[in-house]
Symmetry: C2
DNA sequence: CTAATTCTTTGTTGATCGATAAAGAATAAA
DNA sequence: TTTATTCTTTATCGATCAACAAAGAATTAG
């Protein structure tokens, strides 16, 4: 063991790689781009991270453990589904529109138009999105079981609805739609959940589960 | 003028190019891919279409004139905003999930993670999305002026909301979410508009414009 | 010290990228 | 027919792609 110690900070390098991939995506970021972003020769990148694909996967992991962890954080930190969903959406918007930072969601935008040889990477991110959708549905199902939401609530449709909206938020943020407009549309979107809360009888006939 | 007549069908070739770009995106589709998809040598592609970028722009134009024209069609073909918005969303889902066809929206997914040298292409598609968002907002503003929607309706937020949802639908469709689930979440989303329709007094206090 | 190990530097690999040059083939105008 | 024009074929261009080989440099273990 031992040997010559690494001269650069691996964690700092990974952060720079995450930002590069977040901004330009997997294929949009070349090894030459990474060399100049990390400030180290390509051979050193390969020695430290394995391959471009390995580096990307590790960079996405870092993203999800921090900026991209709004869903996990919201579900862990809020006691009601109503507050968790809203917090998730509003934290997503904050993350997607941070000034001086890459815009949008790395998981949504980093690998959507890949060449056939990078299909595995694209599919890997798609699986992350599907898992996130599932976790939202599951939280809403829990809310129905808990009695927070009416028993006839279609939690699957409601969860798909919020997941779809969140993925759309990433597109809009990347297109430069200002933060305030995104927050305003979230306000509109929260009404679907409010209408399903137990104890709001006048809405019941309008928002009943589809047959 | 005149000269040797072209031996291949330019329109058919453009359709094949549109499908290739729709499936794999601008950068994900190489000239070699186009050569095999169109069945003609690269020099003939350049003679007929100029460059890869010119071909892509023409392919997007074809997409928008047909499959991707659901928004324009809905606004032209429906007399109420309520029906226009729903038709736009449901036709979008049909387009995004057509069996045996490229999934999702070409305008949303064909150029989201591009290298810096293709920024113009990426920005060009973003401009298309912003224009589409604007057209939705404008239709809702019209509905407020017409009295279809309550005068205190925040048409900008409502339009952003439906544009965001539509862009999210493309992500979900690409991820393989089945058509039925997408239609079900649209049903949830239509309630935001229903709640703003004139003549539904009991909703007024819940869906009032933000201060 | 020596030997083993790991990192850094430098230069380069073969493959693929988008794009085109050059020459031959097929048409219309004169 | 001659000439001009346009398309097709073939072969390739220089640039860039991700990845690595080889040798030198710096450390620890023994």
């Amino acid at each position: 063991m031992a040997g010559r110690p690494r001269e650069f900070d691996r964690d700092k390098a990974l952060e720079k790689a995450r930002d590069a991939f977040w901004t330009r995506g997997y294929e949009g970021t070349s090894m030459a781009d990474l060399v100049s972003a990390l400030g180290i020769a390509s051979a050193r990148i390969y020695a430290a991270f394995g391959s471009k694909e390995d580096l990307f996967r590790e960079a996405v992991g870092l993203y999800e453990a921090n900026e991209g962890g709004f869903a996990t954080r919201a579900f862990a930190g809020e006691t009601t589904a109503r507050r968790a969903i809203e917090r998730m959406l509003r934290e997503a918007v904050e993350t997607y529109t941070q000034p001086g930072r890459p815009q949008g969601c790395m998981v949504v935008s980093a690998a959507t138009n890949c060449a056939i040889e990078n299909d595995r990477v694209q599919e890997w991110l798609a699986e992350h999105r599907r898992t996130r959708t599932l976790s939202i549905v599951e939280r809403l199902n829990e809310a129905v079981r808990d009695g927070e939401l009416r028993p006839d609530t279609n939690a699957a449709a409601l969860g798909d609805y919020y997941a779809t909206l969140m993925h759309g938020l990433s597109v809009q943020a990347r297109d430069g739609v200002p933060k305030k407009r995104l927050h305003d549309l979230i306000t509109v979107a929260m009404q679907a959940l409010d209408a399903r809360l137990a104890g709001v009888p006048e809405f019941q006939h309008h928002f009943a589960k589809q047959p």
